[in-house]
């Protein structure tokens, strides 16, 4: 019988085998080192671009951000490079995750029960939720669209002498809207990976998650990894821990 790690390993390609991920008893491998590296790289660039952008977006409020980057002119100089860094590493992640993030009818169904999800009305996620749920995929594709918008509008604003004043003024608005959407989204991303769903962030630090986390939030993925029924395993665990209370 294949162990969880083995099951995952035969799906791994050469780049996923870079580095070392310790999977302890009771855990499942979730993100290999390469995925984690990409995540934190574009995470860093996201915040550098966000904070340097703040100083330009609303200088009246966020003027205190610009000195961190060496003053207004240096902030302006660095911001496009931070953005390119973000897009570069996120682009690699898009290639890495392209199959995993493919939208399915189950994701549409998940989005329709968003209310249930937010209110915690279900103890566990429905059996169709795989490696990523609809919300996670939606956010991923929003960032992909955002990156496309950033790059196009960013280059227009970077080289106004080529594109002209009308295009620049339109690009300015689109760039802002894209930034606002991603700023809105980052709060949910950070919340759900830390306080909102405890046990999540270790997937991006150590690379593993507990089995309990997996069957609660991604039952289909749990089933794929272990070949076992997530709901039966959860009930068995409840019986073991709390003795049918």
């Amino acid at each position: 019988m294949a162990t969880p790690v083995n099951r995952y390993e035969h799906q791994m390609n050469a780049i996923d085998r870079l580095g070392r991920t310790k999977v302890y008893v009771g855990e499942l491998m979730r993100h290999p080192v390469y995925t984690r590296f990409l995540h934190w790289m574009y995470g860093i660039f996201f915040f550098l671009a966000l904070l340097s952008g703040f100083g330009i977006y609303a200088p009246g409020i966020f003027r205190f951000f610009t000195p961190f980057f060496g003053g207004g002119a240096m902030t302006r100089l660095l911001h496009p490079w931070f953005g390119l860094g973000f897009v570069f590493f996120f682009g690699l992640q898009v290639i890495n995750w392209f199959n995993i993030m493919r939208w399915t009818p189950e994701d549409t169904a998940w989005m329709k029960r968003l209310r249930t999800y937010v209110r915690h009305q279900d103890e566990m996620e429905p059996p169709t939720v795989g490696f990523y749920n609809g919300g996670q995929k939606a956010m991923f594709w929003e960032i992909v669209c955002g990156c496309v918008a950033y790059v196009i509008t960013g280059f227009i604003m970077w080289f106004p002498e080529i594109f002209g004043r009308v295009l620049v003024s339109i690009a300015y608005v689109i760039h802002d809207i894209s930034a606002l959407i991603m700023l809105f989204g980052i709060f949910f991303h950070i919340y759900l990976s830390t306080f909102g769903e405890p046990g999540t962030i270790q997937a991006m630090t150590r690379g593993t998650v507990s089995k309990a986390w997996a069957w609660t939030h991604h039952p289909a993925w749990y089933k794929e990894m272990t070949g076992r029924d997530p709901y039966a395993d959860m009930e068995a665990e409840r019986e073991r821990l709390y003795g049918g209370k």
């Binding site: 977006y57 200088p59 604003m157 106004p160 620049v168 003024s169 919340y191 306080f195 507990s210």
Partner: protein
């Protein structure tokens, strides 16, 4: 670029809060009047501008016109535009216009600028760039309806005509005015110049046969502090792309002033949302959770024990 202490500032780009010292003194609005009908295109003003501002010389571009170069530059703020046109009777007409910053009452550059104090408007109406505060984003280039601010790629700063704010602050007229041999350039208060311009336009209409003569002082940007007398006010575009209705892009007015703050508050609602969710709904923990011991909540009305 004048010393901030010698000219009172009325507006400052991207500045939070009020402008220190604004409205403390009586200041007349100033204006440059350019009578295109008496300009002979001698370019004395171009030379005076380069001389007074000590700007480095550069190679010019010859493109088969009398014009010094196709457009103004970061080190060439004042350019006579030569335009070939026709009089109403079909005869040849030179439309010669001195092109420089218009010093708008509602400056698009200042509205677009995201750097605190990089663009200021003095109480006398002069719009001035303070390069030490400029971050080189070139939004002002996009905000200007007259294509005036010019970027210097080596210093990464933007430059334009200052209306000789340094001379004006010392009680002198701008260098171009001083150099004009025909008297087509005038400098004084906005009221005086407007009156003078109207008189001249009336003279052109009544005596000289230019039925469409008028004063260019576009109200779409609340007027300018550089005004023109034109032979034909109905078609200012003939004078080398002088827009009839100059407009500041909505991105730097409606979007920047209204939707940006609203959008920022909207995005921060994400933070408020997750805090509220954590307090009222709590975390979604991995199952199985410990069993519930008791639920503390407000008793239903009428059932107090």
């Amino acid at each position: 670029m004048a010393d901030r202490k010698t000219l009172q500032i009325k507006q400052m780009s991207a500045h939070p809060g009020p402008i220190a010292g604004a409205g403390m003194q009586r200041v007349s609005e100033l204006c440059k009047l350019i009578d295109t009908t008496t300009c002979i295109g001698c370019k004395a003003c171009e030379v005076a501008c380069v001389e007074w501002n000590d700007m480095p010389f550069q190679n010019t571009t010859f493109d088969n016109t009398y014009q010094t170069m196709p457009d103004t530059n970061w080190n060439y703020w004042n350019l006579i535009k030569f335009n070939e046109s026709e009089h109403s009777d079909g005869s040849f007409a030179w439309l010669v216009r001195k092109h420089q910053c218009m010093h708008c009452e509602d400056p698009g550059c200042l509205r677009a600028c995201p750097a605190d104090g990089a663009i200021v408007q003095y109480a006398n109406g002069i719009v001035d760039f303070q390069q030490e505060n400029c971050i080189g984003c070139q939004f002002c280039v996009s905000g200007c309806p007259f294509n005036i601010p010019k970027f210097n790629p080596s210093t990464k700063k933007v430059y334009k005509c200052t209306l000789c704010s340094d001379r004006v602050s010392a009680g002198l007229e701008p260098a171009c005015i001083k150099s004009c041999p025909t008297g087509c350039l005038h400098f004084g208060t906005k009221d005086d110049m407007k009156y003078m311009a109207e008189q001249r336009a009336k003279q052109l209409r009544d005596v000289s046969g230019f039925k469409e003569a008028g004063v260019y002082d576009p109200q779409s940007i609340d007027g300018t502090h550089v005004i023109y007398v034109l032979h034909d006010i109905t078609k200012p575009e003939k004078y080398g792309n002088l827009p009839a209705n100059p407009r500041i892009p909505l991105a730097f007015t409606v979007w920047k002033n209204w939707f940006k703050p609203i959008g920022l508050i909207g995005a921060m609602m994400g933070f408020v949302g997750v805090v509220i969710h954590y307090v009222f709904a709590g975390p979604l923990r991995s199952q199985p959770e410990p069993p519930v011991e008791s639920i503390v909540s407000r008793p239903a009305p009428g059932k107090e024990s």
